[in-house]
């Protein structure tokens, strides 16, 4: 090894830490959400989580034009076991693991950067609807990972929706944002879904219909909640020079960011005192610096939307508008395909399907490949994805 001075070392480390354009998405795939939704409603069980994952994987592989044996890394979603997916797909990876959508993308970039893998398959399947997964009540999904999901149950406080309802109620009082302002999200995303043949809910809704819909946990309405559904999603991510040999239009990961708020999480301090802003601001600084662009350069914003109120929080936290100005931004500037900054162009979790952030990743890729038909955003160059699930702010910038 060549000896290096302290300065050389730190300079090399600085460069080494940058994940910008280290890797690119070369293949995406998903299962037939609408058809399977119909079958599940009719009482059938089309597949289990592993079946959905397998179908999505074969489609992503075909989209990339790769053979299974060319895949040397495998990351599976939280709902399937790593070894079993590898066994089913016949992949003996040299690097692998289990992660949620956002961290799977980041971990793939890290493994590629480190030389631990070159072509990584990210595979997610979830039979949550046909398996009657419960996100509230006794033994809710996620209760083992987040104490706040179960700790306040004796007082009837349960479901992730209630956690965001509690947060949004205070946010309304602090910022003056109204239920009608929040309704812009459900209306805009349903408009997007009406132009997406993959979306489960394609019928447009009006603001009046939103406001007259039932509350689930007041102040949040039914239309503020995600659409729990079966399905699978897969992505193939390859080292950038390899990606360029695989296809002409790879979609690069230009930057990633992450910042977590754990302090006081169970008693809801980061929600009620900070609205997750410090985590989002740090994650934004990291992702935009790494990518060398800013909010004004983004053509599309994708936001993890288990509930609609993630959107105003992200708009403020990531610097798309001033603190406290998200209500006006959504109402006047617009967040739809027809006006303003297009957000969740597939319909997102609210109207396309709740694929736990995985569908946002493939929609980002398809917008950048200009494959989105009626819902295509013109001249799309950069897409920013963000999530703030339970105060863990993760951000990814995709670009051409």
């Amino acid at each position: 090894m060549r000896p290096t001075s302290a300065n050389d070392q730190s300079g090399a480390e600085m460069r080494d830490r940058n994940l910008a354009k280290v890797a690119a998405v070369v293949g995406v795939g998903h299962t037939d959400w609408t058809a399977d939704h119909g079958r599940v409603r009719a009482g059938e069980k089309p597949h289990d989580s592993y079946g959905y994952a397998a179908i999505a994987f074969t489609r992503a592989l075909e989209d990339a034009g790769l053979h299974r044996d060319q895949v040397d890394g495998l990351i599976v979603g939280p709902t399937t076991a790593y070894e079993r997916v590898g066994e089913l797909l016949g992949i003996d990876a040299r690097w692998g693991g289990q992660a949620d959508a956002m961290l799977a993308v980041i971990q793939a970039c890290m493994a590629i950067k480190a030389g631990l893998a070159e072509v990584v398959a990210l595979v997610y399947g979830n039979d949550q609807r046909s398996a009657s997964a419960r996100y509230g009540g006794a033994d809710p999904v996620g209760g083992g990972a987040f104490l706040s999901y179960v700790y306040h149950a004796p007082w009837g406080f349960t479901s992730q929706g209630a956690l965001y309802a509690m947060m949004f109620r205070r946010y309304m009082a602090v910022t003056g944002i109204t239920e009608a302002d929040l309704g812009q999200v459900a209306v805009a995303q349903r408009l997007a879904a009406s132009r997406n043949p993959n979306a489960i809910m394609q019928k447009r809704i009006t603001l009046d219909e939103y406001l007259s819909s039932a509350y689930v946990c007041e102040p949040l309405h039914l239309f503020d909640y995600c659409l729990i559904n079966d399905g699978g999603v897969a992505l193939i991510i390859a080292e950038s020079s390899r990606a360029r040999r695989i296809r002409l239009d790879p979609v690069y990961i230009h930057g990633v960011g992450r910042s977590d708020l754990n302090h006081g999480a169970t008693s809801l301090e980061p929600r009620l005192f900070d609205f997750y802003r410090p985590a989002q601001a740090q994650s934004a600084e990291q992702v935009f610096n790494m990518a060398g662009v800013g909010p004004a350069d983004m053509d599309v914003l994708q936001v993890y939307d288990s509930f609609s109120c993630h959107i105003p929080l992200a708009l403020e936290g990531y610097g798309y508008c001033k603190i406290g100005d998200a209500g006006r931004f959504m109402r006047e500037d617009g967040i739809s395909l027809d006006k303003g900054l297009p957000i969740n162009t597939s319909g997102g979790h609210l109207s396309e399907s709740y694929m736990q952030g995985w569908n946002h990743q493939i929609e980002s890729v398809r917008q950048l490949r200009r494959e989105c038909g009626e819902r295509q955003v013109a001249n799309c160059r950069y897409v920013h994805y963000s999530s703030d699930v339970a105060g863990k702010a993760v951000s990814i910038i995709y670009g051409r």
Binding site: A138, H152, A153, W155, F157, A162, M166, G264, S267, L272
Partner: protein, 139 residues
């Protein structure tokens, strides 16, 4: 569906016993005096393991509230409220507001802890303090 049940770690059990005695006690840090909620093995402020149980004064302010319209538990029939209360000692505790509720926004309303039986166990609740400026005449 099923009944709701408390999380009962070895640190929670003494707290629930104090609720059974109608006087909520929380751990205070022996080094920095910080109150812990939920009960915990270590102080997140100074990382001291030492603590003693200390009754809270029983007063706080509502930071936020929600109304459940969907039923998730057999023992909680909607509509019912849950309030997030910051107690004078610092922590935020979620509970149910019983008795009269404020007109308009509940945020900032001053409350005091009280106790009531729920599904066979004693729980804390909160009610508006008499002098609370935004207390309504009646529910």
């Amino acid at each position: 569906m099923a009944n709701s049940k408390p999380v009962m770690s070895m640190y929670d059990a003494p707290m629930w016993e104090s609720i059974g005695r109608h006087r909520l006690e929380l751990q205070t840090c022996s080094r920095c005096a910080r109150f812990r909620y939920p009960p915990a093995p270590i102080c997140a402020n100074c990382l001291s393991l030492d603590y003693r149980w200390h009754p809270i004064a029983g007063r706080g302010t509502i930071l936020s509230w929600v109304i459940f319209h969907r039923q998730y538990f057999d023992d909680h029939v909607p509509p019912y409220n849950v309030v997030a209360v910051q107690i004078e000692e610092g922590p935020i505790i979620l509970s149910n507001l019983v008795g009269p509720v404020p007109e308009g926004s509940w945020i900032g309303a001053e409350v005091e802890f009280c106790y009531g039986e729920h599904a066979g166990r004693m729980q804390h609740q909160v009610r508006l303090r008499e002098h609370s400026s935004i207390a309504a005449e009646s529910a």
